[in-house]
């Protein structure tokens, strides 16, 4: 039925099967849309956020997907600016994953603010001293860049490509893609950093506060490094999952391995600085505020216990870094485990900066508070993931995403 839209030379499942799949995804989407409507209509009382937890699951998701979506800008940078040609085989997927991640982040941000219709105030009344202002400007403009990067991929659809103007336009966009890759890299550098800065500047919250260089706290640089250390890993995970879901080889293993190697190297560099930063924070910054590291954690195994630090930097930090920089990554099992652990570690990092910062009692006489998201928060979070699945499903079916697919599936 939709055969004309499917790129020539590749095999896709039947239209009926595809429709059933889309229907399943749509059910999840509808559930999320219902929760979203509740939040818009009734307000943020539908969440479990409160005056102690101004930030919760949604901001964690925003920070996490923006880090994991860094595969787009970093792969683009390595492919178009540095010239690692091998990455051309996965760059389309990286761009789409990035587009989904940033689109999700913007959508969730719109939901997270108390007065969404005033969202433009952040641009109109911009406070240039606020890291959040920088984040808003950079994310919005970078999303536009991602749209421009996604456009030529869409225009390669066989039916669209038949149009002469579209064909030439798409070709020219490809020719100048290095410019957008450079702009994307510049913007990403700043917003990834600014997201770290959002927490690092909080001298009133010793758990998050860091000193730094000029106006940028160390978290600014650590967030950039951790994003480029996890973004490529996330892209390779999606490529692998897509291969498993479709039962087709889409990318040669050496490309996936290269993505894993890039992530591993960047993650290792990040971890060196992160460990130094954590040590300095524990022995210098906290004592300056009159605190110790034990006051920032609920024992070893509490909801916000030290296990989070061990998990973030050890099990989901050093372990995946060692796997990804060693020959172990040549085995698919280890490559996937390494990439998965890498991504989990970065999500934990974003979680602790967002949620644990608020959970720690600020007054010596105050108590720990625990936050657990409401079903509406979960539903909307799952909704954006379902939206991502939908976009990838449609893109995979109708767009020539993987240059090696024909060769790998003769």
């Amino acid at each position: 039925m939709d055969a004309a839209l499917i790129p020539p030379g590749v095999k896709r499942c039947s239209f009926k099967k595809f429709l059933i799949w889309i229907a399943c995804v749509s059910v999840v989407l509808a559930w999320g849309v219902y929760a979203m409507i509740l939040c818009f209509a009734k307000g943020l009382n539908q969440t479990n956020l409160n005056d102690y937890f101004g930030f919760g699951l949604w901001i964690t998701l925003d920070l996490a997907v923006i880090a994991l979506g860094a595969g787009a800008f970093f792969s683009g940078f390595l492919r178009y600016i540095i010239g690692i040609d091998e990455l051309k085989n996965i760059i389309n997927l990286a761009v789409i994953v990035g587009w989904i991640c940033y689109g999700s982040a913007l959508m969730i941000l719109g939901l997270d603010v108390g007065q969404p219709l005033r969202g433009w105030h952040i641009f109109w009344y911009a406070n240039v001293h606020s890291m959040l202002t920088e984040v808003a400007f950079c994310i919005s403009t970078y999303f536009l860049v991602l749209c421009i990067e996604y456009l030529p991929i869409i225009l390669e659809n066989p039916e669209l490509d038949k149009n002469r103007f579209i064909h030439i336009f798409s070709h020219n966009l490809h020719e100048y893609m290095y410019i957008f890759a450079a702009v994307g890299t510049f913007l990403s550098f700043f917003h990834q950093g600014s997201l770290g800065g959002v927490f690092g500047v909080l001298y009133s919250r010793p758990f998050a506060f860091r000193e730094g260089f000029f106006v940028w706290p160390w978290t600014f640089f650590l967030f950039i490094l951790s994003a480029v250390g996890s973004g490529p890993a996330f892209t390779l995970l999606i490529a692998w999952a897509l291969q498993k879901a479709t039962g087709r080889k889409l990318v040669k293993y050496n490309v996936l391995e290269l993505m894993g190697k890039i992530a591993g190297i960047m993650l290792s560099i990040y971890l060196v600085f992160k460990l130094i930063d954590t040590y300095y924070w524990a022995i210098h910054i906290l004592p300056e505020k009159g605190m110790t590291i034990t006051q920032c954690y609920q024992g070893w195994f509490g909801p916000y216990g030290l296990w989070l630090l061990v998990a973030e930097l050890g099990i989901f930090g050093i372990v995946p870094a060692l796997i990804l920089i060693s020959p172990l990554r040549k085995k698919e099992f280890f490559l996937i485990i390494g990439a998965l652990f890498d991504c989990i570690g970065i999500v934990i990092n974003r979680f602790v900066f967002t949620v644990q910062t608020s959970a720690i009692p600020t007054y010596p006489f105050d108590k720990w508070v625990v936050y657990s998201p409401s079903w509406q928060e979960w539903a909307t979070t799952i909704m954006v993931i379902a939206l991502g699945v939908l976009v990838i499903s449609l893109s995979y079916r109708y767009l020539p995403l993987f240059p090696q697919e024909k060769e790998l599936n003769p």
Binding site: N50, G54, Q115, Y125, S130, R205, G290, T362, Y363, F365
Partner: protein, 254 residues
């Protein structure tokens, strides 16, 4: 008549904890003065709108040695206000008399200021404000009500400053007299535990009180420079106002 504006004013609050009985009159006065809505179900205290809250602290000793104190906590109107630095839309500002103001129609409810404020002085409008039938007649016309989805906070009853200043200007004065502008909580306190005034006036009561060896501020090590001072002659109370490493070390060695 043209009257030059003056920077010789900086208003601070001094709260004598030893005088506070925790009666809550200040909280009620604040709510009444500032049109704070009340919901029928206020069980979730982390979502209640209160510009002024009272913390109850104890010395941690078992009875009969137990001692209790109450710490009323308005916005600290910090000189180094983190909320002002972080607000992305400039919806909050530190004005020339020392008040950290909040522009409700500009705030879009991102809550970054709440995540930043260590005093929990900022609250969010989780619900539409509702004033039960009849109570709307008691609303203060000098203070705007706030819509759902924005952050609100203590304003040091800034509208009272404007009134007092209008009066002073009409009388040809620039600087207000001590006691001419005080907050609703200070006025309502039955034990006179809350003092409010211009710290730049050396003859004001607050200027003298902050020099007390028993005066302190909350979380001073965090570097926010609060404009609310506390006084307590009890050391155990003062010790709970901030974090002290030596205390932790002492406990560890016990």
């Amino acid at each position: 008549m043209h009257v030059e504006s003056s920077h010789a004013e900086k208003y601070v609050m001094v709260i004598d904890i030893d005088k506070c009985t925790g009666c809550g009159a200040c909280v009620i006065a604040c709510s009444q003065e500032n049109n704070i809505p009340v919901r029928t179900d206020e069980t979730d205290k982390y979502r209640s709108i209160n510009w002024l809250v009272i913390y109850r602290i104890t010395n941690g000793e078992p009875p009969p040695k137990t001692k209790v104190a109450y710490i009323p906590r308005p916005c600290m109107h910090c000189d180094h206000a983190i909320c002002v630095h972080v607000c992305p839309a400039q919806a909050t500002d530190k004005d020339r008399i020392g008040v950290v103001s909040q522009i409700y129609p500009r705030c879009f409810g991102c809550r970054y200021c709440m995540a930043a404020c260590p005093y929990h002085a900022r609250v969010f409008g989780w619900w539409d404000p509702v004033f039960p039938k009849g109570t709307e007649r008691g609303l203060n016309p000098d203070v705007s009500t706030r819509m759902r989805g924005v952050v609100e906070k203590c304003s040091f009853c800034h509208h009272r400053y404007q009134k007092a200043r209008d009066k002073a200007i009409a009388e040809g004065r620039v600087i207000l007299k001590d006691g001419e502008y005080i907050t609703a909580c200070a006025e309502a306190c039955p034990t006179k535990a809350i003092y409010f005034g211009n710290i730049k006036d050396p003859n004001s009561k607050v200027a003298k009180l902050v020099k007390s060896p028993f005066a302190f501020r909350l979380l001073e090590k965090f570097g926010t420079e609060p404009s609310v001072y506390y006084i307590s002659r009890q050391e155990w109370v003062r010790r709970q106002a901030d974090y002290y490493l030596e205390e932790i070390h002492k406990k560890a060695h016990e």
